[in-house]
Symmetry: C2
Subunit: 261 residues, 2 copies
């Protein structure tokens, strides 16, 4: 009997979030599933790893085809723990999510969901981050699931180029409105931050980080355009972040230090 | 009288690390300096931001040409706080470091030092991360300082292309051995992780994340090669991480979902 592929499932909203339950359920149609996910929400953790403190792991479910662990660390810690310690055979696919909220455009850089996929990619395993454009804990994932399953099945079958993982964002709309899938580039955007200043009961000042999302990109080949037009966006993301196009200019600079010594 | 440029200094080792003191001192030769740095070490924090808890800021020094704040958040939080709240005029340059330890090759993705520079770049400000290839708290930064000053002065003068910041790594060697500066690409490398398993006094298992750095890249145009050959490495880093070269192949895939519904 041929062994089914082993699929690792992670997220950043924590192991008890509805999004990872939906993702786990779909992945069980495609293979045996190992879930290793944070024991508490880790949104906005970017590519953080735990090096100044220790990690704990607890197995919370084990059946023939599904094993689930919670981990005290970040999403990236979970991937490292799964790959180096918990998986009992090679992992064929890593999926992260389904995130409660968009990770399109510049959000890819802040996203714990995508950092799990990027870490999988660094480890040489085909990896995908999935996000639904709905921040609610009670979001309805049903319309997204056929796309999640199809894209995961394609990556299982075809693999991905070396050093590339996928950032998949799904509009939060009824399935009848879904327009299909678009392969896109990351839109140019940023958050215009504001620090919401408040005063604590003892008179001390503290701040909540808030901001307004600003899309600076009118291209129709971007993830923001796709999502605004009811498409699922698929952005290939690379781990070599060298700005090759800037190298020639920089090589012309005179870096000699005789004048600064 | 012309105003001197305002230079924002951040790091991830915390505001009391020797590396940020060295960097602050050099930057005072180039402009007025605003330091906003974490109040505790934040190594390995990647591009983490604080969204589920609050931030605190304390001013710990203010003179004519130097103001220093500690912040309870991550390096990225510090940049957002400085740009949106603490700077009293436009920031001309952001420098992060000098990190105690290398951020070359794949380490750029895990680095809190570089995430501060990347955040500066997202905010549209010329930004540089500096790292010394020596993890010791007592590292000698003296040989690195002429390079730090020269590169910062060049960026102040020339700016950087939109969406590009610099990842500068400096070998930890005597100044007489320094070979100069190389503009490089990020070497292909990864960490071969191991989870160091231990038992606590109550019999529970816990783990320290450890690993061995594996450079898979023999190119002489990489940062790893430059550092091994006593050059300062300068890698331009971009915030658009789309893998453009993978898009054509992905566009050929059949994403139709009729078989997964």
């Amino acid at each position: 009997m041929t062994q089914r592929p082993l699929i690792l499932v992670c997220n950043d909203d924590g192991i008890f979030a509805p999004g990872i339950a939906a993702l786990t359920s779909v992945m069980q149609d495609l293979g045996d599933v190992l879930v290793v996910a944070p024991d508490s929400p880790q949104s906005g953790m970017g590519h953080a790893i735990t090096i100044n403190s220790t990690l704990r792991v607890h197995r919370i479910e084990q059946t023939d085809r599904l094993t689930r662990y919670s981990c005290s660390g970040t999403p990236v810690d979970c991937i490292k723990m799964a790959v180096s310690k918990l998986a009992d055979r090679p992992i064929s696919l890593i999926v992260s999510g389904i995130n409660h909220g968009s990770n399109s455009s510049i959000n890819v850089i802040y996203s714990g969901t995508m950092s799990a996929a990027v870490e999988g990619c660094i480890e040489g395993i085909p990896s995908i981050g999935f996000s639904l454009c709905n921040y609610s804990y009670e979001a309805d994932f049903s319309a997204s699931l056929p796309y999640v399953k199809k894209i995961a099945a394609l990556v299982l079958q075809k693999g991905l180029p070396e050093g590339v993982c996928l950032n998949v964002n799904i509009p939060s709309i009824h399935k009848s409105k879904m327009q299909g899938v678009r392969v896109c580039r990351q839109a140019k955007a940023f958050w215009d931050e504001e620090m919401d200043e408040r005063t604590d009961p003892r008179g001390g000042k503290y701040y909540w980080l808030t901001g307004i999302f600003k899309n600076m990109d009118e291209g129709i080949d971007t993830d923001e355009w796709a999502l605004a037009n009811n498409f699922v966006s698929v952005v290939p993301v690379q781990i070599d972040i060298t700005a090759y196009q800037a190298m020639e200019e920089l090589k012309m600079w005179d870096f000699s230090t005789h004048d600064t010594l």
